[in-house]
């Protein structure tokens, strides 16, 4: 874990594909690392891992909702169901960071709530801080979730993501689930804000509260279908209780059903490809700014190019990156060497 000992991406990729936990952990560390040497290795790692499989395999699930709605206990209950069926699960749990002027640290407490009683090699949990990025998720979450998808059947991203920045949540997975807190202002805000277009599945937790939970469920139920953004999907609203373990298996079944719907509608691969393009664009822009993007033909051209390399966008990213670098280096004296 020293900054000198960065892993070899090719070897690491092979170990990750074999499902070695240590390799998964060090791959995630590499994707999180901002040092220039690590960035280029991280992209090579992603390139090594990508392929047609990446667009079709596994299931990427985003779980979001206001603090206190019981996301972690719900995720915990779902993990129990998946593990009983022998399905392997990777979890990325995102918690908020404190403000930069307060040190920017974070308390990552989801492990405690998700923790399963026995040690389980089919479950891998990584906690992340959102590092004050809007949308409730850190940029690192995307590549990390793709890495996990290479060796786990299901990857769950759990995040506090409510409010103005719905876009990130929308791009977070194949299936997005919103966990509502009965009788809470947050949920009402959410309904009003129009973000209701994003989730595919709704859960009203703490159904043991009775009338309040039923009221929230019916409010969501009334709003959700009107937004009908996808023909053929019914946007289910589930009443359940993670602590009392009621309604979990019905809720659980919707995820697989939604994945089958996406495959049948040809949406699974298309969405994933779009999400990856968005991230690649974001990387390029972060490193080189709009000026850099112009050097390879501008945003629209890049999206088009990436679209042609659906399953290996990271290799294409590397080519564009090198191209931009060489253009920059020929313009200026070399100050940007990687």
């Amino acid at each position: 874990m020293t900054n000198l000992g960065l892993p070899d991406p090719e070897q690491l990729a092979a170990r990750i594909l074999r499902g070695e936990r240590a390799a998964v952990a060090s791959g995630l560390n590499l994707l999180d690392n901002r040092l220039p040497a690590a960035r280029s290795r991280a992209v090579r790692l992603l390139a090594c891992l990508s392929g047609e499989r990446w667009l079709t395999a596994g299931h990427l699930i985003g779980v979001t909702g206001p603090p206190g709605a019981g996301k972690s206990s719900l995720v915990s209950a779902m993990i129990r169901e998946w593990r009983l069926a022998g399905t392997t699960v990777g979890v990325l749990a995102v918690d908020p960071s404190s403000r930069p002027e307060l040190g920017g640290g974070a308390l990552l407490g989801d492990r405690i709530r998700i923790k399963t009683p026995a040690q389980d090699e089919g479950l891998f949990i990584r906690s992340l801080a959102n590092r004050n990025q809007l949308g409730g998720v850190a940029g690192e979450v995307w590549p990390m979730s793709w890495l996990m998808l290479a060796c786990f059947d299901i990857v769950v991203i759990e995040t506090v993501g409510v409010g103005q920045t719905e876009i990130d949540i929308a791009e977070i997975g194949d299936t997005v689930c919103y966990v509502a807190q009965p009788a809470s202002g947050d949920t009402i805000q959410y309904l009003k804000s129009g973000i209701i277009e994003i989730p595919d599945i709704f859960a009203v937790n703490k159904a043991d509260l009775g009338a309040a939970a039923r009221k929230t469920a019916s409010e969501i139920g009334r709003s959700a279908p009107r937004q009908d953004r996808r023909e053929g999907w019914d946007y289910p609203v589930c009443l359940l209780s993670a602590t009392m373990n009621t309604g979990i298996s019905e809720f659980h079944a919707h995820f697989d059903r939604h994945r089958r719907f996406l495959v049948a509608a040809g949406l699974l691969a298309r969405q994933r490809s779009q999400h990856q393009s968005a991230w690649v664009l974001r990387l390029l822009k972060e490193e080189f700014g709009s000026f850099g993007l112009e050097l390879v033909g501008g945003r629209a051209a890049i999206e088009k190019r990436l679209g042609e390399y659906r399953s290996s966008q990271f290799e294409e990213y590397e080519r564009m990156r090198e191209h931009i670098l060489s253009r920059l280096l020929s313009v200026n004296q070399p100050t940007l060497s990687p």
């Binding site: 020293t2 952990a25 404190s98 307060l102 974070a106 990552l108 407490g109 492990r111 405690i112 923790k115």
Partner: protein, 672 residues
Amino acid sequence: MVAPRKNRDQPWLMRTYSGHSSARASNALYRTNLAKGQTGLSVAFDLPTQTGYDADSPLARGEVGKVGVPISSIEDMDQLFDQIPLDQMNTSMTINATAAWLLSLYIGLAQRRGIDPKKLSGTTQNDIIKEYLSRGTYIYPPGPSMRLIADTINYTVKNVPKWNPTNVCSYHLQEAGATPVQELAYALCTAMAVLDRVKASGEVPPEEFPQVVERISFFVNAGIRFIEECCKLRAFGEMWDELTLTRYQVTDPKLRRFRYGVQVNSLGLTEAQPENNVQRIVLEMLAVALSKRARARAIQLPAWNEAMGLPRPWDQQWALRMQQVMAFETDLLEYGDILDGSPVIAAKVSELIAGARREIENVEAQGGIIAAIESGYIKRELVGSHMSRLRAIESGELKIIGVNCFQETAESPLTTGSDGAIMKSDPAAERQQIERLQEHRRQRNDADVRAALQGLGDAAKSGDNIMPSSIRCALAGVTTGEWGDALRAVFGEFRPPTGVDIAIDSREVLGRKDQVTEIRDRVARTGSALGRPLKILVGKPGLDGHSNGAEQVAVKARDVGFEVVYDGIRLTPQQIAQAAQEEGVHVVGLSILSGSHMELVGSVLQELRARDLAALPVVAGGIIPPADAERLLALGVRAIYTPKDFNLNAIMGDIVDVVRENNGLERLGLLS
């Protein structure tokens, strides 16, 4: 010399909280202590017994016989009270989640010895509510825990009438940081919750309810501010008298008396110049002895060296002698209440009562103590108070002699002995207890055991009082782990709220501002050099549930810019190593207060090596004697923090340096 008056008051019950290694060794200690003039027993149980595991459970590893005596079955109970007449002894048991079980073993043993349970007297601590706030030896969720408390009360009021079935604890609230007002308010709220629950169970007819109220006793703490503490106890008495009259209509004033036992404050005992603890303990005892109206019924004093490790028999004797000098040499017991009529005392008592009333109203408005615990409100308040106290110590505003002032000291002859001035628990105890337990399992009648456990499970499900079936289990030879598991299967296990969902106002907890700025800068710079923000795993291996220290470290680390994975309590070394790997942390911080640090830290290091994480630095904090600290450092632990490292900023600075050194960066040294 003036002769003492003849008609002195009876002194309180004198005890010493003790137990270690095995039932046999603890029995020998008890009989020695009784011979020295102790008038009651106070049993300390080990953590597996407190959390309902057998000695051979993987979670019990390294914990058997450490902080107390292991009791796996009625045979251990028998050995613990060998040659001690149960009908003449007053036995206090510090036991909570498994209180119903240990009481059943005690009653079962009495029955086996032909003693009428009506003659048994003593106390089970049995305040499971506070376990969620401090101490952490809970097993079941709050609902079933309340039921267990109510069941033991309902049972003992009828069948063991001299028993104090529950000791509502404000002691641990103070250890967790509570101010006197918070102590008063939360303890009284807990007592109300318990009484309301018993009342609602309907097992006791209304006309007998005053007897239930009478059996509620308290376990209180007394700190060094002994005048305020004495006023706190007078306030307790007045408030309890009023509350039992108005809320529960207890008309007989005798049944409304505030009865309490006490252990004086261990939180304020220091590892630096530990001999000073003697005068601290004596002054703290004054708080609970001085005022006749508010005098303790039973006192146990910690030993002077408790911040260093387990006290030896001689240390406990010294503590007992303090009580005896106070009771028999001074003239304290010759007078009525010497504080009655003092306007200063009266004003202070009124002030505390007014504050406590406001806080009680506040908690009641949130739906009572259980709701306020579940919402995290009480925990937040306590951590807030505790952090203010630490900040005051760091700033020097709160003076602690030998710690943040008057540190100069000559070498103490008390701590230079070859034993390091503490007792080592018997390292063979765990193996012997496991062998004894396995032999017991071979000897007993399996059919009886199965039937008794079936009955226990049925009672748990049906809502019948848990005590009769538990006593049957005791007599059939059921083990502590089996009893715990049978109820886990019905009640489930408590999953703590994150514990660090503690939204403390950072300004309250940070301490010296310039230091904080400097550490934040160091954390940020080191993170940039390594490519990602510094990430630390804070965990507690083993069964020790005192999570406050770990939580403070976690909160502090967050506030100086670390990304902190807080993994809670009761973790196996394997789980910690797995978490360290999955989370990709730069450093692991372990907190262990049970004295099992050698076994547990060693196992964590071994598990990390098994996961190719030998290079990951581990630091440990806890009550770790210097000799053990050296051995741990030799094993590869990078830093050890003990109670004398009270400055959290300094600890954070050091942890940053541990990470830097591990990654080939130069150390930045002490904070300016």
